[in-house]
Amino acid sequence: MSKSGKRKKPSIGKMIAYVFLSLWAITTLYPLVWVVINAFKDRRLILTDSFTIPVGAKATLDNFRLAFNKLNILGAYKNSLIISCTVMFVVMLFAGFAAFALVRYHFRGKQFLYNLVIAGMMFPIFSTIIPVFRMMNSWGIVNTESTALSLMATALPQIAGNMSFAIVVLIGYIKSLPIDLEEAAYIEGCNVYKIYFKVVVPLTKPSFATVAIFTFLWSYNDLFTQMFTLRLKNQWAITRLLGELTSMEGTNYGLMASAVTLVIIPVLIIYLCLQKYIVKGLTAGALKG
């Protein structure tokens, strides 16, 4: 917490800030509330009466009951977590390496590699999926009965897909890092690998947390890749499972709202867990130590 922030009484400027921040908070909180209240409504009410809170006769647990009865939700959560956590960790590890090298080292072709990374952010999945699918099919990791292989086949392209974003963001943070600390460590006899893990990573922990959150989120929500790689029902991840449930004509919006609610929960847990790393004062502590 910023000590300097706690001076005297709240000023007018601060009041205005709070009002403004709260107004924005309402706009971001409301859709979540909207989704959750509609998850407890009958599908017929959502289009006609979606902005009220369901009480008494209007409230129903049917949507959740339907989802839980028909589907193996826990199994799908498990598959989702395996895929997305793998993607998250591999991306953090390798993107961190790459970003570090692209910031600290000077070498020929660096600019070219950087452009490649930027380009990688923009390849639409729709234009890369077919070659990727054929390749993985020739390796025999898609279209199998093995759940482990299918989950891996989902994770691999997602790792690549999130890599550029992670590298770009990490470059931004590592660039702002003062080099003095690394020099100090070097003088103490650390090699570059040690410097990276003992100095750079701890100092940029918040940025790794940020990258981790978004990587997890995008991997988790990526329905398109899953459509190609997860075939059999016991391989389905949660987004695939609930997407399948809520698709089709005569869309069942009540079911959709409950599905969205079920999908959001793990992401929120992950965010809240990682959020504690996005706090102030780490650099200061490191400098002292």
């Binding site: 699918f133 099919n137 009965e145 016991n234 089709m248 867990c273 504690k276």
Partner: protein, 454 residues
Amino acid sequence: MKKVISIMLVLVLTFSLAACGKDKNNAKNTSTSTDKTETTETTDKTETTTPEEPKKPVSINVTTTYAGNDGNAQNFQDAVKAWEKETGNKVNDSSATSDETFKARVLADFEAGAEPDVLFFFNGVDSNTLIEGNKVVSIDEIRAEYPDYASNMKDAMMGASPVDGKNYSVPVNGYWEGMFVNKTVIEAAGVKMPDATTTWDEFLDICQKIKDAGFTPIAASLATVPHYWFEYSIYNFSETGKHNTLAKEVSDKQGEAWFNGLSDIKDLYEKGFFPDNTLTGTDDDTVQAFIEGKSAFLIDGSWKVGGIEGLTDKVDDFTVTYVPGKNARKSTDIIGGLSSGYYITRKAWDDPDKRAAAVDFITYMTRDELVSQFAQYSATALKNGVTVDESQLSSLAQEGIKMAAGATSMTGALQDLIPTECRVPVFDGMPNLVSGTVDIKDAIQQVLDLLAAR
């Protein structure tokens, strides 16, 4: 708070990892145990029923569109289980909801040599590459070896391939297109309910009266789903039974029919019979307005019966009837057919282990009994027709059966002959046509050019 949550996460993770490890064992266990039951089942069978050579249990890969919220998803899964139990074979079901991604996945599978053994897929132009590439086996070829294959179906209705006119797939449940009516609007506007005898001019009259009474006569999103109006208004100008033939040029008979049909839609639009937001709203929006009693008519497919049942408590307020006819077309000449069916892939056919299992699976899934259960109020190709317990159905579904039964002819949809990319000028371009920014004849010419360029 933070701690609690992180502990929760750790728990979830360990649980999932443990479950993962356990699951692998489980999977192994279950697979061995199913193997066991399978073998016992087959031995049972050899002892009791089949005196022929004992069959090895086979596992076949099946891809269908019976998934998600499809009304028959559950029926399909039950039927698969029953078949597995009966034969001892195993089905790897990779069904998914039919959408653009699904189509791409199926085509990519065939391209990569990863196709399923049995496929339930469209029989219109979407299947052309499968037939051109000799990836699926024709019914004739199957019958050379299994003479009784699909013998309960009318050959003429099975949905011949646009490529060579031969049958490749065995259909289950089809569709018809009809005009759904919100009766409350008809009553409130005090107009006559359209029926089998209503003519086009009478229909225009009714629409005008409904409009004068302050309602929207026709619910349609011309921006997103002009398909049904496209079909019927063109059918109004083509010869009965010759509706689904393609025009060669704008000035030939079919080309004229297209022009006159599309001009009729423009006419309806100019008369203000469509919703105000027909060029900007989605289909969901306009259907919702129909359900809420803001508009009177909705042309849609038989699947909308289930859709309407799901959207309203008062399904008795709705009915379905014929789309009023014009010229040679009687109102009772309707559009419908069977747009998908079961294929056996070349890969499965050439695999001696799988051939019999695939044939047996399809034969099982297309028995009269199962087809009736799947089809209910929609069209089928069964020689004996469906047997449905009507008392289980809503009034709307019963009206649907009645309407389909009273039809004097049923013709396939014209659009099934036109690949998606060639429909663009008249489908996605419909708002341009009705608002007059693009000339109708130019648009038809564009479609024909696209068709010719293929």
